[in-house]
């Protein structure tokens, strides 16, 4: 679970001293990216006229474009830098993340993407509210969307501060905070000006940069080992100092019974979380039809799959070419392994090639963080405006203009909250937050979504039990887990009220979310179960009749 472990740990002297030296180059590449994407955002903003443009990019993207954008939304800094670092340090165990993150897409493809596209308009709440009592269910959907997004956002923001500071060789507190503020402001600009259109283009560009950058490093690594995977692995095992066990499962999670159970819990949360992540769900609305939604998930599976395959080369390449001390000196969790590898493979810290590749990968990492936080902010603010403001507070009487305005205002507020939390949490361990976001999404959102679409007897009561039950149980379990207190790596290492032994709550809270949805439906006696509304939802979700 320590993908982003100690991302926020004080930057020890940067092993990549080249970073300071080549700072102008890195900053210029950052600047090019920011200026280019902002220009596109403004262009997209001019073409954003109504609510459908703002929330769903006018549903005008093709399956391929949206597939790229989904990949951009999904491949966060945690997967790019975190997995490469985890493999570089823990060997095979790091690779386990890639698999869970990828297999998860089958849940989205087979069960969620198409029916969601057919029956909803802008948010996850649309689908749930179809057959239930609108206000309580939309409130619940809005709350869980915002909670999941904020946890995810917080992790990315803290990561942004620490990581970019590290890559640029900035060590002061003030410098890091400045970067968090800067990231927050750019993200708010993307979302408020460009809406879904602008954000989608940013995701596409970022996905291309990330794939391109990773591909260059992968080819260079393989070239060094004569395109022989076995000799790459052999060199990694030898250089890691851990020998054969570096290539086998268990180095990190096989330590104790608890760590093994924790691994199962994490595995379940990863595979079931993706299809409940709000920023992923709203992407399915940006294409015109369910068929295009299917096509976009297929593209995403292809792109993300190839990307995760390349993380093997990145991670084992870093293990083979850098000493583990070099990696941990730079960042204890290995988050800078990929940039360090880029530098080494380009010819070392003093060479022009090394400097250029380091700058390139650093710029890609920065683009990655910016794009992901923008996607999350858009998801949270859309749900606030569409579910909570328009349908709960204004009871469906808000005009489209008012609704979009509320979305823009809430994007600014959520961005502000993220900046504040990012600064406050600068010293905290953010490891649990990404995993928590996945676990909460799998516990609170997925059961309700699946029951709504496929179970005739599901009721409003069941939906509320499931969303709130999944949400509260997962958050509480994390609160009383070693992620928050009791261990050296905890958020508050000096206190100890951790009675729940696992770092990931999924093993308990996901089945609980499903169970509560079922029990809640049995005890509550309201409409929503079966009847005309379910008939309409089912027919529309399967045929696309009357889809927006």
């Amino acid at each position: 679970m320590s993908l982003t472990h100690q991302l926020a740990a004080p930057a020890t002297q940067l092993a990549a001293e080249g970073a300071t030296q080549h700072r102008p180059l890195i900053i210029s590449l950052f600047a090019v990216f920011v200026v280019a994407t902002l220009a596109i955002t403004i262009w997209a903003g001019r073409r954003t006229k109504d609510a459908t443009d703002y929330y769903a990019g006018g549903r005008s993207f093709t399956g391929f474009q949206n597939g790229l954008a989904i990949s951009g939304d999904y491949m966060s800094a945690a997967s790019f830098l975190g997995i490469a670092g985890a493999i570089a340090l823990a060997g095979y165990d790091g690779f386990l993340y890639s698999i869970g993150f990828l297999v998860a897409w089958l849940v989205a493809l087979l069960l969620v993407a198409e029916p969601l596209r057919n029956s909803g308009r802008y948010t996850m709440g649309d689908v749930l509210a179809y057959r239930m009592r609108q206000r309580p269910v939309r409130t619940a959907a809005g709350v869980s969307t915002i909670v999941v997004s904020i946890f995810y956002l917080l992790a990315q923001m803290v990561g942004a501060g620490a990581l970019v500071a590290l890559l640029l060789g900035i060590t002061g507190e003030a410098g890091k905070n400045l970067i968090v503020v800067f990231v927050g402001i750019v993200m708010i600009l993307y979302v408020t000006i460009g809406g879904m259109k602008g954000t989608t283009w940013v995701q596409m560009i970022k996905a291309c940069l990330l794939i391109g950058g990773t591909l260059v490093i992968t080819v260079l690594v393989f070239h060094k080992f004569n395109y022989n995977l076995s000799s790459l692995l052999g060199a990694a095992a030898e250089n890691s100092g851990k020998g054969k066990s570096f290539l086998e499962p268990g180095l990190k999670y096989g330590v104790s019974t608890t760590s093994k159970i924790d691994f199962i819990s994490l595995g379940i949360a990863l595979v079931l979380g993706t299809a409940g992540l709000p920023h992923i769900l709203i992407r399915f609305y940006t294409v015109p039809t369910a068929k295009a939604a299917r096509k976009s998930v297929n593209w995403a599976i292809g792109i993300i799959g190839v990307f995760y395959l390349m993380t093997i080369a990145l991670g084992f390449g870093a293990a083979a070419l850098l000493s583990s001390k070099t990696i941990t000196d730079s960042n204890a969790a290995g988050n800078t392994a990929a940039p360090l590898l880029a530098q080494a493979i380009g010819g070392g810290p003093d060479s022009a090639g090394g400097a250029f590749l380091l700058a390139m990968i650093s710029a890609v990492a920065f683009a990655t963080i910016l794009a992901v936080v923008a996607g999350l902010t858009l998801a949270a603010s859309s749900s606030f405006a569409h579910d909570l403001y328009a349908n709960v507070i204004r009871r469906g009487k808000a005009t489209e203009k008012e609704e979009v305005k509320a979305a823009r205002v809430s994007a600014i507020i959520i961005g502000g909250v993220a900046i504040g939390l990012g600064i406050f949490a600068g010293k905290l361990n953010v490891a649990g937050l990404v995993a928590l976001a996945f676990a909460v999404a799998a516990s609170a959102n997925l059961p309700t979504l699946l029951y709504s679409l496929f179970w005739k007897r599901f009721t409003t009561g069941g939906a509320l039990w499931s969303i709130y039950g999944g949400l509260i149980s997962s958050v509480l379990l994390v609160f009383f887990s070693p992620v928050v207190t009791g261990k050296e790596t905890s958020m508050f290492p000096d206190v100890d009220f951790a009675w729940f032994p696992l770092e990931n709550p999924g093993l308990i809270s996901i089945p609980l979310g499903f169970l509560l949805g079922w029990i809640g439906s049995l005890v509550s006696k309201d409409e929503g179960a079966g009847g005309k509304k379910y008939a309409e939802l089912e027919v529309r979700s399967m045929t696309g009749t009357g889809a927006h």
Binding site: Y92, F95, L96, I99, G100, L102, V103, W105, L106, V107, L109, L110, L111, S119, G120, R121, D126, Y130, L229, S230, S231, L233, G234, A237, K244, S245, L247, E248, P249, G250, Y253, G254, K260, F263, I264, G267, I268, V271, K291, R294, V297, N298, I301, G302, G305, Y308, L309, G531, K532, A535, E536, E538, V539, R540, M542, T543, G544, T545, G546, H548
Partner: protein, 131 residues
């Protein structure tokens, strides 16, 4: 060709009742082919994935067996998860295009034709009702 029940002919167009469509043989066939494909397949890939997780945890001896050079069973098993994901995505998409899409589209065309006829009497062409 089957004709749909004409509830709408007597009265102003309200929200359409889809119960008859839901109960129809055509729709039942679409739902059955969708569910009988994706539900077992979902169970299968989750079991296959969990098997991998559990073997990683509890079958160290098996996973560390050497296949060729430094490539062991664990790595091959991991790569097999990638391969199975790609194959399942491809298989489902082919199935959907061949077996589901034609049925879904036929139903959709029929329903939207009916809906616009229902509304055509007193409105001029707003085909869609808000959700």
């Amino acid at each position: 060709m089957d004709t749909a029940p004409e509830h709408a002919s007597s009265g102003p167009p309200g929200p359409r009742d889809y119960t008859d469509v839901q109960q129809s043989a055509e729709f039942g066939e679409l739902r059955r082919s969708y569910r009988s494909f994706v539900f077992p397949l979902t169970v299968a890939f989750i079991v296959w994935y969990l098997l991998y997780v559990l073997l990683s945890n509890y079958a160290g001896g098996f996973m560390e067996m050497q296949v060729v050079g430094h490539i062991n069973v664990a790595l091959v098993f991991g790569l097999a998860q990638f391969l199975s994901t790609f194959l399942i995505a491809w298989w489902y998409s082919r199935f959907a295009a061949l077996k589901l899409d034609p049925k879904a589209e036929a139903l959709k065309t029929r329903l939207e034709g009916e809906n616009s006829r229902r509304q055509g009497t007193d409105s001029t062409g707003s085909e869609e009702r808000d959700a």
